[in-house]
């Protein structure tokens, strides 16, 4: 403005004669023609090819086993039992067997999986109170209205953790056993901690301040979610650092899955144990399941997944194949362009056609 005032006379409103205002900035005008971009195409094809091959080789070294145990073996009884809500309090356990043909080398990850469970429904997703799980005292007793109708029970006692997400927490539990021979059984030790993101465990989820009281005292005045069998401060009775809101199963469950078919980490093979230092050896395994989570209401399926991981995730052939396909597509385009370049403007000036 000050600048504008300096000028006067008939040319006062004349725009500045600067390269920017008069659009005279030196410009680079690339022309996309075959002869300029061909090297780029070939290079890109090559890079995608190499990446694809590398990824493919990496993926092929992984192993994965999936077991849909919804109605598998004697779990069928439990499945039938869970069909009736009135038996919800009854415990039911079942056992599934499987065998591994090839040893799982390295870290083995134990997942549970659910199918057709929409954790990404908007109303469901909204039904949670992050401030409560952050350990805010005020929110503990007075959960956010987002949690409705899972904010308070019929008597008006606040629920901790509130909301549909926490209420529907997956509550099957698994014990993996290795059978090196018919008579011998070795329980496979699973690490049930260190599964979450560091930030979730240490920043986003905190227990309310205990002030030297027990965790149970801290949660005094709240009650467990309706579908839970035990209160939140009792989720891991043996380890106070894994109980309450910072229970890792809870944290993992609260990280809502992107798709209706998903898996969530249950445990990692503890390779400190002498039998499993190299991973899971081949042989027969059984999983003892405490079968609690009903899936028939939403036509869902439950499964366990045992897998080893690569540096870019689990066993997923999509990426390597996608890279290889892309690479060949680019190569095809490059060949077409080469032909075009050969036939038409080799000199780059098609002025005369």
């Amino acid at each position: 403005m000050g600048k504008a005032k300096d000028k006067s006379g008939p040319l006062a409103r004349r725009p500045d004669n600067s390269a920017f205002k008069q659009q005279r900035l030196p410009a680079w005008s690339p022309i996309l023609t075959a002869n300029t971009v061909l090297p780029f195409f070939y290079l890109l094809a090559l890079i995608c090819m190499l990446l694809g091959v590398w990824l493919l080789l990496t993926v092929q070294s992984t192993q994965e086993i999936k077991l849909d145990y919804t109605e598998l073996g004697n779990c069928d009884q439990c499945f039938q039992l869970r069909k009736n809500v009135s038996y919800a309090a009854q415990t039911c356990s079942c056992k599934v067997e499987f065998s591994i043909d090839r040893a799982f080398k390295g870290d083995v990850f134990f997942y549970y999986g659910l199918k057709n469970f929409h954790q990404n429904l908007r109303r469901y997703m909204d039904s949670r109170d992050d401030e409560q799980t952050l350990g805010r005292k005020t929110k503990l007793k007075n959960p956010s209205s987002y949690c409705e109708p899972f904010a308070k029970d019929v008597e008006g006692v606040p629920i901790a953790p509130c909301g549909a997400v926490a209420n529907s927490m997956f509550n099957d539990s698994f014990t993996l056993t290795y059978h090196p021979s018919r008579s011998r059984t070795i329980p496979v030790p699973l690490l049930r901690k260190g599964l979450t993101w560091y930030t979730d465990k240490n920043v986003k989820f905190r227990n309310p301040k205990t002030d030297n009281l027990t965790l149970a005292a801290a949660f005094e005045g709240t009650r467990q979610p309706l579908y839970w069998q035990k209160p939140v401060y009792d989720l891991d009775p043996h380890d106070p650092t894994n109980s309450g809101f910072i229970n890792e199963d809870l944290i993992i469950w609260m990280r809502e899955a992107a798709f209706p078919n998903f898996k969530k980490l249950y445990g990692i093979l503890n390779r400190a144990d002498a039998s499993f230092t190299k991973g899971l050896p081949k042989g027969n395994y059984t999983i003892d399941i405490s079968y609690n989570f009903p899936v028939q209401y939403f036509q869902g399926r439950k499964e366990v997944v045992l897998t080893t991981l690569t540096w870019f995730g689990g066993q997923n052939y999509f990426l390597p194949i996608a890279y290889l396909v892309t690479s060949s597509l680019i190569l095809l385009m490059a060949v077409v362009l080469t032909l075009a370049w050969w036939k038409f403007g080799k000199d780059g000036k098609n002025m005369k056609e």
């Binding site: 004349r14 680019i330 075009a340």
Partner: protein
């Protein structure tokens, strides 16, 4: 002889719009002026300078009306002789017609006098001069600043020298050289004294023509010193100052086509009516209405004058007749009564006043005629040729006589020598209808003739105002438009301002084309407002046109740059930016759409909604805006050098049905890629919803920005900054947001998501793959198209890369290749018939039409593309 001389000061003033910068300003006095040879020299140089260009950008705003007036020596001698002979004016009641003529020039106008160095003072001195508004003031001050010259000259037209009248005056004047000498010296000394004073005088007129006449009178010593509502002060060559009492001014209107000033002569005390006006309006008022009552000599004079006028018109001069009438006391009194009644009337006041004016303006005595050259501005023919090559049809709508208009038409290459010119001028509707029918039939037959396949008849239509009015009547307008469509150019002469706008509207409605009207005068305002795009040329005609216009330019030649360069740029920028905006939104919103299939159609988004808002608001907003402002597909030089490039914007341009849907399809494809590649990569994994959204969002960002990068034709440092800045901003904002926001925005949990993703190689693999796959088709398509079938614009861009000399070589060769000389070329490539394929394959013809309009230099261009021009130029900008 004496009476014959009456007519002799035919005074062909020529206002020369000539800027000659190379010459230092010459202050000239009479003795500097060579007579014959110098005149002819000037005559020639004027002709040549029409074509010569001397447009330096720093004087672009100066007015071209410039002028020194070089008085004709012979005429001067006549005047001085008349002066001295009529020295004792009281004795001889008869005033020399030469003197009278110049007196009329000085008086019969509405020019206001101001002192060049005292504008304020002038405003006080003449409070009535409401017309002298700021633009005029600015104009005159500009004159001074630019140091441009008002150059004007009166000259003897030697082509008419066989005229016996002139010969006789010649001989007469040579008879007494001594006296002549003294007289001229006398005049000279007077002039010397007066120069200093009169130099300061500034004339501010409603039209440049008026000013020109006053300047002409001044050159002959009749200096208009002051004008108040009631008096006019004129200094005669003798130095005597006469104060005329102005009794009434009958102002100009387009029906009467003349104006009059009624004054009382201070010496003779006669009531004198000076009238000037269009020749055809004046001629019928000469003497009595009955021709037989005019004495033989007067008849002769009228005939001679008419002959001269015709010659002027053929040369493209604007003609005016100056007449005088002495009104008797009694007539005046009775007329005054009527006049006052008319002025006091409540109803039909305008008509009554006009009627009284008509009553007084009868039995006029012809004093002389003037021819004013309204010179074309520099580069007008070039500009018109370029516009035509650009596929724009040019029409000329002018108030001038047909002869003048045709002359101008040839001068500005609107008409070509080999054109078939159809002259339509008829008195009644019947003839008009038959002419239209015949011509149409002829044109059709020509088209059907097998011999003429591949050629088009070059028809130009010249039509005058009356005929135009008939042709535009509802029953004939279809036929008229049909014929006009076949014509290469149409000249409408003697049209009123209202007709101008009607023509424009007719063309707009019937031909369904985009119209552009260019004009510089107040009479073009209607037309400028009627057209789709109105362009005003600022100049001597005042600022009315400019104020009514959408765009203002200072010179006609700038129209070329305005349309061909800025119009083209603006069109491509807008077209591409609009398409890009559609694309961008479709591409991004579709990501969310695809997700609905996986979240039970609950309108859940996998991207935190603040990030979604920021995405359109910050991360991808500036690059398209920059694209819309800065992109230059082809440089200005090439666009001006190859006007045909303009045609890409007409009809089958860049923004059409096909390009729109292609980009929408591309948007769908890209959104599919950006969604399903991450989806498939994360399928059956333990990914959470917002972690899944992050690579999606990032891939979309890169795809959308790189898509633009493919579209951007020229990269400046600003582009790089904005592009890289957008990406940087995305990461900075998202990282900061993810780091700070622990519980905010409840349903979504952005906390630490991007950080954890950026630590995961999967993120990079997905982003890279999605972006590459998404952009591959477009990129390849561009490359393939550019290599196999390059568009004209691309060829233009290739021209750009060459050295200027090589480029010019190329352009020449290319033009040669495209077929013959200039004229031939648009014969071939510019057919109005939309069915025929042009021999030039990549310039498909477009049904375009344009109006050139001109009272001189007003243009009306009609094209059927949808462009607007920008006002970003060093030479052109809106003044208001």
């Amino acid at each position: 002889v004496r009476l014959a001389v009456l007519n002799e000061p035919e005074a062909e003033e020529e206002v020369i719009f000539n800027q000659h910068q190379q010459l230092p300003r010459t202050r000239w006095s009479l003795e500097d002026e060579g007579i014959g040879p110098a005149d002819t020299h000037w005559h020639d140089s004027r002709r040549k300078s029409k074509v010569a260009t001397n447009g330096q950008s720093d004087v672009a705003f100066s007015s071209p009306l410039e002028t020194e007036v070089i008085p004709d020596q012979k005429l001067l001698q006549q005047i001085s002789r008349a002066e001295s002979s009529g020295g004792c004016r009281d004795s001889s009641r008869k005033i020399d017609p030469h003197l009278d003529f110049f007196l009329a020039l000085a008086i019969c106008n509405t020019v206001v006098v101001s002192m060049a160095n005292a504008h304020r003072q002038r405003a006080c001195m003449s409070p009535s001069s409401s017309q002298t508004n700021n633009p005029l003031e600015a104009f005159s001050s500009m004159l001074k600043k630019a140091g441009a010259l008002f150059q004007r000259k009166s000259k003897r037209n030697y082509s008419l020298s066989e005229d016996p009248v002139i010969d006789s005056t010649k001989t007469e004047s040579s008879r007494d050289p001594n006296r002549l000498q003294t007289c001229s010296l006398h005049a000279l000394s007077q002039n010397d004294i007066l120069t200093a004073e009169s130099e300061d005088l500034c004339y501010e007129a409603e039209s440049p023509d008026e000013a020109a006449l006053v300047y002409a009178a001044r050159a002959y010593g009749f200096i208009l010193l002051a004008r108040t509502p009631n008096s006019v002060t004129v200094r005669l060559p003798s130095g005597e100052e006469l104060v005329f009492e102005v009794l009434d001014t009958l102002t100009f209107d387009s029906n009467r086509k003349r104006m009059s000033v009624l004054v009382r002569h201070p010496v003779t005390k006669e009531y004198v009516l000076y009238t000037k006006g269009a020749d055809y309006a004046i001629m019928e008022l000469l003497g009595t209405p009955y021709a037989e009552n005019i004495s033989g000599i007067e008849k002769n004079i009228a005939a001679y004058t008419q002959h001269h006028l015709d010659c002027y018109a053929k040369e493209g001069l604007r003609t005016l007749c100056i007449t005088k009438k002495v009104v008797s006391e009694s007539t005046y009194q009775s007329w005054l009564g009527k006049r006052k009644r008319a002025q006091a009337a409540i109803e039909c006041r305008e008509e009554l006043i006009m009627e009284t004016a008509v009553q007084l303006e009868t039995k006029l005595t012809l004093l002389g005629a003037t021819g004013i050259e309204d010179r074309l501005q520099e580069n007008v023919p070039d500009t018109i040729v370029a516009l035509r090559e650009a596929g724009i049809h040019v029409w000329l709508l002018t108030g001038d006589k047909p002869e003048t208009a045709v002359n101008i038409g040839y001068a500005c290459r609107l008409l070509e020598e080999e054109d078939l010119v159809i002259n339509m001028s008829c008195q009644n509707k019947l003839t008009c209808t038959s002419i239209l029918d015949c011509t149409l039939e002829e044109v059709r037959r020509y088209g059907e003739d097998p011999r003429n396949v591949g050629t088009t008849l070059n028809i130009s239509l010249v039509i005058d105002g009356n005929t135009l009015a008939m042709a535009m009547s509802p029953d004939l307008q279809e036929r008229f438009v049909d014929l006009a469509k076949q014509c290469r150019s149409v000249l409408c002469c003697r049209v009123t301002p209202l007709q101008k706008s009607r023509v424009v509207k007719l063309v707009r409605e019937k031909l369904k084309v985009m119209t552009l009207a260019v004009g510089d005068g107040a009479n073009d305002v209607n037309m400028i407002q009627a057209a789709d795009i109105g362009i005003g040329i600022s100049g001597q005609e005042g600022m009315q046109a400019v104020m009514a216009s959408d765009f203002a330019i200072s010179r006609f030649k700038h129209l070329k740059r305005l349309l061909l360069v800025h119009g083209h740029w603006c069109y491509t920028r807008l077209a591409n930016m609009v398409i890009y905006f559609f694309y961008k939104n479709v591409a991004y919103v579709n990501l969310l759409f695809w997700y609905q299939f996986f979240c039970g159609f609950t309108a859940m988004t996998m991207i935190d909604y603040w990030l979604m808002i920021f995405f359109n608001l910050f991360f991808t907003s500036t690059p398209p805006i920059l694209f819309g402002i800065f992109d230059k597909d082809v440089s200005a030089e090439v666009l001006q050098g190859v006007p045909e490039l303009y045609r890409t914007g007409q009809g089958k341009g860049e923004y059409n049905f096909l390009t729109f849907w292609i980009s929408i399809l591309d948007a769908f494809y890209q959104s599919l890629v950006c969604f399903f590649i991450p989806y498939l990569a994360y399928q059956d994994s333990d990914v959470d919803i917002f972690t899944f959204g992050m690579p999606l969002n990032t891939a979309a960002l890169f795809t959308i920005l790189l898509h633009l990068a493919i579209e951007i034709k020229s990269w400046t440092v600003v582009h790089w900054i904005i592009m890289l800045g957008s990406v940087a901003l995305y990461f900075i904002v998202t990282l900061a947001y993810s780091a700070v926001c622990v519980t905010c925005n409840p349903p979504s949990n952005p906390y630490w998501i991007l950080q954890s993703q950026m630590a995961d190689p999967m993120f990079y693999l997905i982003c890279t793959l999605s972006t590459v796959v998404a952009l591959l088709p477009r990129y390849t398509f561009h490359v393939l198209k550019n290599s196999v079938a390059p568009s004209p614009l691309l060829q233009g861009r290739q021209l750009d890369r060459m050295e200027p000399s090589t480029r010019n070589q190329w352009i020449k060769e290319w033009r040669g290749f495209r077929g013959g000389p200039l004229v031939k070329r648009y014969e071939l490539s510019d057919p109005p018939s939309p069915t025929r394929a042009t021999p030039v394959d990549f310039f498909t013809e477009s049904l375009t039409d344009a109006d050139f309009m001109g009272d001189d230099n007003s243009l009306n261009v009609i094209t059927d593309n949808h462009h607007r021009a920008v006002q970003y130029d060093d030479n052109l900008f809106r003044k208001l």
